[in-house]
């Protein structure tokens, strides 16, 4: 399976990924996937309106670039870059109309090229400008209150880099994760990284030794870096090497100025600093991926000691709240493929996996049913992956030839394959995802397993049925119908 279809206008080469946001923008623009808003617009509620509207357009919502946000005139703010399947396809060199399952398989194939290469460079663009004195994030960054009752201005699309202070020389455990960050004063920010996140491990090890944990926060990171920051790779898998693998060329990084961290050389902004050890500060609420606001919690705080940025930097923000949002798109596909790969290590019967709903609180797995009850074992395996432990609370199993990204196909499987008395199981008192309002106390939950696969022996099989076959001549007919519709719309 392949098919890289985008060709770089300047080099004539096939595109597999983009080294930075700036080289992506012309490709989005050429496909009608970048709207430039040049008129004056208020940060609230003006930009918020675009954040909500563009990210609700799941299939083809465009990125939107602002350069005249009132009070921040001249600063560039980009939203919804990864906010639709069309944009994600373009980011990875595919046509904008690529079906989600095709994109899933294409990226999944490229996943197997891990480890890709990482290249260290000096005089990186992300360090063209350096601010170390009188840092004021409210002045430097075009900030927006994303949802009206958020506790402040959040950095919602930040790739946060950290290392294990007890093992600082191991490159692969250096973590790049997307965590929510609340600006709390000119040079301090609040951070939510939870114990089951990779950064949660780094936080714990630093706090056990009462050591500040150095961090770098990238805003406007290269598109593939943001994608992997949203993934749930194993602790010792390197996000940077995955970026190199998927892009088909080395990822360029550089050393941060004040710490030993490696930062993407083509990030638009990098905030450097450290987590203050063994102290907590009020953080939140924040409109989150379950569609509800999180509570006010005692969370970590980062002191910012340097800000570096490119000339005319591009700030990125994503909308998060009631789905569909940019968070669902960027996080959804990265999570789906990561879990798919983890399952297939021991269960090659798994053929596809959809974890795009609420960060994988509900997961649909397509699998061959090797023998009676096998599908339920696949669910147990998912529930024991690092992400599945706390997130995957509703696990739906469908047959291997059902597209888990197709709502109609999944509903048909539920409607025609499930007999609740034997196909539904509930495992109580398991870990839960604290942001899920049904996780009570926050962090506890349960697992619901619905086996909608066709039973296999020795399980009692379905009464014998004959499935209605696909119609081969439909493909040709579909092309004619689509062409008719496109021509009709052009005439209008």
């Amino acid at each position: 399976m392949k098919v890289l279809e985008e060709v770089d206008a300047t080099t004539g080469k096939e595109v597999q990924g983009y080294k930075d946001l700036r080289t992506l923008l012309p490709a989005l623009e050429a496909n009608g996937q970048l709207l430039r808003v040049t008129k004056d617009i208020s940060p609230e509620p003006g930009v918020r309106g675009y954040l909500r509207a563009a990210s609700a357009m799941e299939n083809d919502g465009p990125a939107v670039m602002f350069n005249n946000v009132v009070g921040y005139r001249g600063k560039q703010l980009l939203i919804n870059t990864h906010g639709s399947w069309a944009n994600l396809a373009l980011i990875f060199g595919r046509k904008r109309q690529t079906p989600v399952q095709d994109l899933f398989y294409d990226l999944s194939d490229r996943w197997d090229r891990y480890p890709g290469e990482v290249k260290w460079v000096k005089n990186a663009p992300c360090q063209e400008h350096v601010i170390k004195e009188n840092i004021n994030l409210y002045d430097i960054l075009p900030l927006v209150r994303i949802n009206p009752f958020d506790a402040g201005f959040f950095l919602s699309k930040a790739s946060v880099i950290s290392r294990d202070v007890t093992d600082p020389d191991t490159f692969d455990t250096q973590n790049i994760g997307m965590y929510r960050i609340q600006v709390q004063g000119p040079d301090t920010v609040g951070l939510q990284a939870l114990p089951f996140h990779d950064m949660g491990i780094h936080l714990k090890r630093a706090e056990e030794l009462n050591k500040p944990l150095p961090v770098a926060i990238c805003l406007g990171a290269p598109p593939t870096v943001s994608f992997f920051a949203s993934s749930c790779l194993a602790y010792d898998e390197s996000e940077y090497k995955f970026v190199g693998a998927l892009n088909g060329e080395p990822l360029e990084v550089t050393k941060a100025l004040t710490t030993d961290l490696d930062v993407p050389a083509y990030s638009e902004y990098v905030l450097e600093g450290y987590v203050i050890p063994r102290q907590r500060f009020p953080e939140g609420p924040f409109g989150e991926f379950p569609g509800s606001y999180s509570g006010v919690r005692a969370q970590n705080r980062i002191k910012i000691t340097a800000v570096t940025h490119r000339t005319n930097p591009i700030m990125e923000t994503l909308y998060i709240g009631r789905p569909w949002t940019e968070h669902d798109c960027i996080d959804g596909l990265a999570t789906s493929i990561t879990l798919y790969k983890q399952l297939r290590q021991t269960m090659p019967e798994v053929t596809a996996l959809n974890a795009t709903f609420n960060h994988g609180l509900t997961v649909i797995i397509a699998t061959k049913n090797r023998f009676g009850g096998f599908a339920k074992s696949v669910a147990f395996r998912l529930a024991s992956t690092p992400h599945g432990v706390s997130y995957a609370k509703n696990i739906i199993l469908v047959d291997h030839d059902v597209d888990p990204f197709n709502f109609t196909a999944v509903m048909t499987a539920l409607s025609t394959r499930v007999r609740a008395d034997k196909d539904v199981a509930i495992i109580t008192n398991t870990p839960g995802m604290p942001l899920d309002p049904s996780s009570e106390p926050p962090g506890m939950g349960n697992k619901l397993i619905i086996d909608a696969t066709t039973p296999a022996p020795p399980d009692a099989v379905l009464r014998e049925v004959r499935m209605v076959d696909p119609v081969p001549s439909a493909k040709e007919a579909e092309v004619i119908i689509r062409k008719f519709q496109e021509e009709f719309l052009k005439k209008k």
Binding site: P43, E44, Y138, P148, F149, Q184, E283, V296, Q299
Partner: protein, 78 residues
């Protein structure tokens, strides 16, 4: 000036519109970490109009849920 959310006095101005337009100012509460821009909607800026659910007046902020508990200190050798 008092905090819109927790009613504390520890509020300070932390920014003015950086483009020099004087379009707005940003305020920050040292007590509850709430921040706001003077140009936001009345539903956000007026304590009486904000849903009570989001207000923190009188709430003990030293006793909040701690998603990442502070671990015991490890004693290192030497």
């Amino acid at each position: 000036m008092k905090c819109i959310r927790c009613d504390d006095d520890g509020v300070r101005q932390v920014a003015k519109a950086p483009d020099g337009s004087n379009a707005w100012e940003v305020f920050y509460c040292e007590h509850c970490n709430f921040s706001w821009r003077s140009s936001e909607e009345p539903e956000v800026l007026t304590p009486e109009k904000r849903p009570a659910f989001f207000q923190l007046k009188g709430v003990d902020l030293t006793n909040l849920l701690q998603p990442c508990p502070i671990p015991p200190l490890k004693v290192t050798e030497g």
